[in-house]
């Protein structure tokens, strides 16, 4: 049951950058907005998947994520 929330929390952390407090805040906001705007375009059944897709896309495009320090 809690898996969807776990993934969203993880996605928010990753998007904002691990170890970055304000980044996590921004990530959470981004995911919340993306989820709720996203259902305009796709079936609400897939709502929980949006956060995850965003997370993977961001991880692939920028492994050092938005506001975090660059580690590689």
């Amino acid at each position: 049951m809690g898996i969807a929330n776990l993934i969203k929390a993880f996605a928010a952390t990753l998007i904002g950058g691990v170890g970055n407090l304000w980044g996590a805040l921004l990530g959470g906001l981004l995911i919340g907005l993306a989820e709720n705007i996203g259902v305009l375009f796709i079936s609400p059944g897939y709502k929980d998947g949006i956060a995850f897709v965003i997370m993977v896309l961001i991880l692939l495009a920028r492994p050092y994520v938005i506001l975090g320090e660059r580690s590689d």
Binding site: I3, I7, G45, G49, V56, L59, L60
Partner: protein
Amino acid sequence: MDLLLHLCVVITIYAIFALSLNVEVGYTGLFNFGHVAFFAIGAYTSALLTLAGIPFIWSLPAALAMAGLCGFLLSIPALKLQGDYFGIATLGFGEILRMIFNNEVWLTKGPMGLPGIPRPEFFGFIFDTLPRYLALSAGFALLTFAILAFVVLSPFGRALKAVRDDETAAEILGKNAYRFKIKSFVIGSVFAGLAGVLWAHYATFIGPGDFTLTETILVLLIVVMGGKGTFLGPVVGAVVLIFFQESVRFLRLPPEWTRLLGPLQQMIFGLLLVVLMVFRPEGIIREKGGER
């Protein structure tokens, strides 16, 4: 007696499932938290095809090919991620796949699931009774064991272990770690698909609720407890864990406690995993030649 046979069938299916995960977790060091997705792909593909009237002999290879193809497609982006991020990516893939099964009602009938999946049939011989089905699943388990043992003992298997132990060193020696990981992932996916096919035709009913994270955790527990990176480990783990899981049913508990049995099982599994990690992190069977 029937219960025992049923348990044996479930054990053989989980043994195949665990053996396939062992290729990824044990030999290549890829912690795949979405392994149940490939189990589900195999189960759904074969179930849908046989329900459409295609014989089992064709639906089985189709399901294996589908699981392998999905594994290949997932592994291309996912394996670019490092360590933990790979685990999270596979976890999410499993969840997304379950959402697809839940939402694409035209194909999978959504949460209602697919009832009435026919028993497998080979050239007019139907595996409908328990002993017959056990023979079928045990045969496939032996075949899986033999193929995976062959794969792991070959130079390819040694290269996988090299990638697991030190990716940089393997790459310096001229092994393309990314490609080896993809191959390992595809092999694991195909055999997970096989386990799924056997499960679908055994249970004769599948629904999205059968393929949750709990299944992945159970099979990871089987691999880690049995001993990852060993031949017999996943098999031993499957026997011990499935018997243990079923024996909880026979606990004499006061009636008002019986509703707690399900959560209790989960709690005991969690506790078992923690205790095992602390006291015997290498599992019941140890890998030969590994660092201690």
